[in-house]
């Protein structure tokens, strides 16, 4: 049990085509693993019937189309609860979307189903993707399948795509969708020892994904190998006429670009990422990554991204501002939770009670910050200034790329996974600092990937981040592959949850 669920997409693809296994067998194995992994809290909804029906359809298609079947055909995946799936409860892990069943299908999931992927269920996350530890979920936190050696305290899988990361790392599904607004794919991927890719802004359609911060949100794959990321991104990406910000660009054959040959590539090492208080483990990992890429024939170049320091503060103006507006639609009128009113209470009370009851503390906090920075008298001081700083942050990267840098290598996170309840209890900013290395990438609209590259002294996974040129996910993944091959990360956590 668990052998099939533990396959990578590329392994499963090969065996499905040879007829050695069926999509139904993999799916059943995943469903069993999911059931056994209830303590991880990774899935918030399991769609077993749907999964089996889709698996059977995929098997029929594999039989009919053989080699011509899409790469994702018959591959069971988990879907972050931020993606609207027709008829399936979609709540963005919030009470305010209580029992919301979308009468429509997000573009990303529609593309996956079109290619024959199998839907296992919805994955836990931070409420409205606002969080870095999955602790803001209305359903309770997802738990990291990894534990520190000799320590059974539950650790965070990271956030906001914590359920996705936990599910993929624990081998409950072959891959999962995630979304990344400030690091929500890459940070949990790093915390759980998997690969997480945030595409260039505009590469993947946002239609049908519950919006957090529209100018930063981007969906991407969370997988157990770089190759799998390439395969899954291929299925997810592409222009969508229903998303004005999705780019009219052809999607290259990402997998074909994975040669592992990166000789002559120039890799930038930004000095500003060497932050105060960075753990020795992370520091050592970064150096190891540099050595690996050099070993693969890349040229290592010191670069400067001078406005890095201001990325996080700019992010905590822009993202809440957009969120305060994006979340205004949750008002109890058309769907989701509506508060019960006392006699004599009217529409204003309905709004205030509904939103007070429906949103968790972190969401409320961000909506109010966003409301404040957009309000009369503060717009220029905060919001417009943050947008200008955003221009400067993008310019930093543009200048680096213009000088011939092909990709930037940084740590993915400033630490390894921390314990649940450990951070942000008194000061929300403490939690925000988790995204310090990932946020600049969202602000600049660039592609980024987190690759598991080692473990710390306690055996917890560590991730390195590669940042690519706009639209060069293929090139970026090829460099990531070189890193992956050399890091030789030993993947699976021991399945303590099976008791």
């Amino acid at each position: 049990m668990g052998e099939l669920a533990g396959l990578t997409i590329s392994e499963a693809r090969a065996r499905l085509r040879k007829g050695e296994i069926t999509a139904r067998e993999i799916t059943e194995d995943c469903l069993a693993e999911i059931e056994a992994a209830a303590p991880l809290g990774a899935f918030v909804e399991v769609t077993a019937e749907k999964a089996l029906a889709m698996a059977d359809a995929a098997d029929a298609r594999l039989a009919a189309e053989g080699e011509a079947a899409p790469a994702m055909c018959g591959i069971p995946v988990g879907i972050k609860d931020l993606f609207c799936v027709e008829g399936v409860r979609t709540q963005a892990a919030s009470k305010i979307l209580d029992n919301f069943r979308p009468p429509y299908e997000s573009t990303v999931t529609a593309r996956l189903w079109q290619d024959g992927a199998v839907m296992l269920g919805k994955l836990n996350m931070d409420e409205f993707a606002m969080g870095s530890s999955n602790e803001t979920s209305h359903f309770g936190p997802a738990i990291n399948p990894w534990r520190a050696e000799g320590d059974s305290r539950p650790l965070t899988p990271g956030g906001s795509s914590g359920g996705s990361a936990a599910a993929v790392a624990a081998r409950l599904c072959l891959a999962a969708t995630g979304t990344d607004t400030g690091g929500s794919i890459r940070q949990p991927a790093a915390f759980t020892g998997i690969v997480g890719l945030k595409p260039t802004y505009g590469r993947v359609s946002r239609w049908g994904i519950v919006a957090f911060a529209s100018s930063l949100d981007q969906a991407g794959p969370m997988t157990r190998s770089v190759r799998d990321a390439a395969i899954m991104l291929q299925a997810m990406a592409g222009e969508d006429p229903r998303d004005s910000t999705s780019a009219p660009r052809p999607v290259p054959d990402f997998e074909a670009m994975l040669t592992g040959d990166i000789r002559g590539r120039r890799i930038g090492i930004p000095k500003e990422y060497r932050v105060e208080g960075m753990s020795a483990g992370i520091e050592a990992l970064w150096q190891a990554g540099i050595d690996m890429l050099r070993d693969a024939g890349a040229e290592i170049v010191d670069i400067s991204l001078p406005h890095t320091k201001y990325a996080l503060p700019a992010y905590y103006v822009i993202a809440p501002a957009e969120a305060s507006s994006n979340l205004a639609r949750y008002d109890g009128v058309r769907y989701g939770h509506r508060a019960k009113l006392a006699p004599g209470e009217g529409i204003v009370e309905m709004y205030e009670k509904t939103r007070a009851e429906g949103f968790g503390d972190e969401v409320k906090r961000r909506v109010m910050i966003g409301t404040y920075v957009l309000s009369a008298g503060y717009y220029d001081a905060y919001y417009n200034r943050a947008r200008k700083v955003r221009t400067l942050i993008r310019r930093d990267f543009e200048q680096a790329f213009a000088s011939g840098i092909d990709a930037v290598l940084t740590p993915a996170t400033p630490s390894t996974a921390f314990a649940l309840g450990e951070k942000g209890q008194d000061d929300p900013v403490e939690m925000y600092l988790n995204d310090i290395f990932t946020v600049p990438v969202n602000l600049a609209g660039l592609p980024g990937i987190s690759v598991p590259a080692g473990r710390d002294a306690k055996g917890l996974p560590l991730g390195l981040q590669l940042i690519g040129r706009p639209w060069e996910e293929g090139e970026m993944m090829n460099i990531a592959l070189a890193l992956e091959e050399r890091a030789g990360f030993d993947g699976a956590p021991s399945p303590w949850w099976k008791g």
């Binding site: 609207c84 429509y104 239609w207 049908g208 229903r242 004005s244 008002d331 058309r334 957009l374």
Partner: protein, 503 residues
């Protein structure tokens, strides 16, 4: 193009207890863009559908839904801007205006605060021959309409219909250049006329497709001129905004009431509070809007779901080249080409279809005569029956044929009116009707003379009277016309009667 010259009218003055006051009025007119689909969704804009049926998931602001702009709505806004002699901004952008209201599903309206699609323009509002107000347009922006809340279906609840949600509106913002209630109504009428010419808004006020917010303030004589010289609004009084009016009559009544209310406050030593008010047509009063009581903070910011709207200059020029002749130009041309009065030209150009009808009738004919017939006979009859020009049973070709028959002397003006009536009710070719029904007038003098002789012979006493007093001659003319059932050519009859009496 010939422009008509004009002078600007004096502002409306209200004599208060403590001297005279003048009105200053600015307007924000919301015109629904004529389009099949909504501004940011593919749902229909059709009026009167079942509740919530012309609604897409985008309009209902379902989670994850995104706007994609309707290019035709953009074109319509550009066309309107060009029609108002306004500057087209090749770069514009959309902003979110955030507020909570049950018929605003997104919790924000997508509008254009910082970079509107159309900049400054102007409208000439005719207030009589040679008199007109030049109203400056500040801007026109594209935005989404809200839905409809119905408050009278249940004592405890309001009902919300989103059919209208997301329909494209053009908000046309004027400078405070309007100086009387009549000018305000005429201004809206002029915008309506121009947009109907352009085909950019059907102007249907009853359905709410054209609505106005009116800003009213009062000042002392001379203050307004100081404002115009300096651009400094402090010379003007505090304004109140009367929201959402969809009737010319209510606009006038509301302004009149509001100006007098403000004057009463000021003369009482009080201060006008800047606020949003609602006009209650049943009471003939404006009142403060409770729902707008708290000062709004709309938290405008650029809509991150959309990119800036960048237009190509060549595309704008293509639209400019395709513009129809607009009312003022047409009116001036009618005065010049057809020799008709400015007043008649104004009536004929009120609607583009009517003007086209007139031109078809007048082509190759006498312009004044065509104008008389179109205005008095045709419009008169259409008005009486509440029909539009498009529904006229008499076509331009038919009316033209009637005029030709008059010109050729085949029928008299009086018979022509009978003929018009026949064509109106029964249809048919006027020439054939005249032939078949023997309506052609008799011009054969021998035949007429015979009738004259018979009548004179039968009325010797009258004949004597007429010989003594030529003024009585008319009696014989009337008798001849009667005897010939009006078909005798009146000129010929007159001449023969005069000759006989003289002889």
């Amino acid at each position: 193009m010939l422009d008509l010259t004009f002078t600007e009218p004096a502002p409306r003055v209200i004599h208060g207890l403590e001297g005279d006051w003048e009105m200053v009025i600015g307007m924000e007119v919301h015109a629904q863009v004529s389009s099949k689909a909504k501004l940011f969704s593919g749902a229909s804009t059709e009026f009167g559908a079942e509740p919530n049926s012309n609604v897409s998931f985008v309009d209902a602001a379902m989670p994850g839904m995104l706007p994609v702009i309707n290019e035709f709505c953009v074109e319509q806004a550009v066309r309107t801007g060009l029609g108002l002699n306004a500057r087209i901004n090749l770069f514009s952008a959309f902003d979110r205006k955030n507020y909570f209201y049950p018929d605003l599903p997104q919790g924000y309206q997508i509008s254009q605060l910082y970079h509107p699609i159309v900049g400054e323009g102007e409208v000439i509002v005719w207030m009589g021959e040679g008199t007109a107000r030049r109203v400056r347009i500040e801007r026109i922006h594209l935005e989404q309409d809200a839905g409809k809340s119905i408050h009278d279906m249940d004592p405890e609840y309001s009902f919300v219909d989103l059919n209208r949600t997301g329909v494209a509106l053009m908000e046309i913002v004027s400078r405070p250049d309007i100086r009387s209630p009549e000018e305000a109504a005429a201004y809206v009428g002029k915008l309506r006329q121009i947009m109907r010419y352009l085909g950019t808004c059907d102007g249907n006020m009853q359905n709410g497709n054209l609505r106005a917010d009116v800003n009213v303030s009062v000042c002392r004589p001379g203050d307004y001129e100081k404002y115009r010289e300096t651009g400094d609004f402090s010379h003007l009084g505090t304004r109140c905004e009367i929201k959402n009016m969809n009737s010319m009559r209510f606009i006038q009544q509301a302004i009149e009431y509001e100006a007098r209310r403000q004057i009463a406050i000021l003369e009482d030593g009080g201060e006008v509070v800047q606020e949003t008010r609602l006009y209650d047509p049943n009471k003939g009063e404006t009142r403060s809007m409770r729902s707008k009581e708290e000062a709004h903070d709309y938290r405008y910011f650029p809509c991150p779901d959309l990119l800036p709207l960048e237009l190509e200059a060549a595309w704008v020029e293509e639209i400019r080249a395709s513009l129809p002749e607009l009312p003022d130009a047409k009116k001036a041309r009618f005065v010049r080409d057809y020799g008709i009065t400015e007043y008649d030209a104004g009536v004929l150009t009120a609607e583009r279809e009517a003007a086209d009808f007139f031109e078809e009738v007048a082509r190759g004919r006498d312009g004044k005569m065509a104008a008389n017939w179109v205005i008095n006979e045709l419009f008169g009859r259409l008005n009486k029956e509440g029909r539009t020009i498009g529904e006229s049973p008499v076509s331009a070709a038919q009316l033209g044929a009637i005029l030709d028959l008059i010109r050729k002397g085949d029928i008299s003006g009086k018979i022509a009116k009978d003929l018009f009536e026949i064509v109106w009710t029964e249809g048919g070719d006027p020439v054939r009707i005249v032939e078949e029904r023997g309506m052609k007038q008799v011009t054969d003098s021998a035949a007429i003379e015979k009738v004259v002789d018979e009548i004179m012979a039968a009325n010797p006493a009258q004949l004597e009277k007429a010989k003594a007093n030529p003024k009585v001659a008319g009696w014989f003319v009337g008798q001849v016309m009667k005897a010939t059932q009006g078909k005798a050519n009146p000129q010929v009859v007159n001449e023969i009667v005069r000759r006989k009496l003289a002889g």
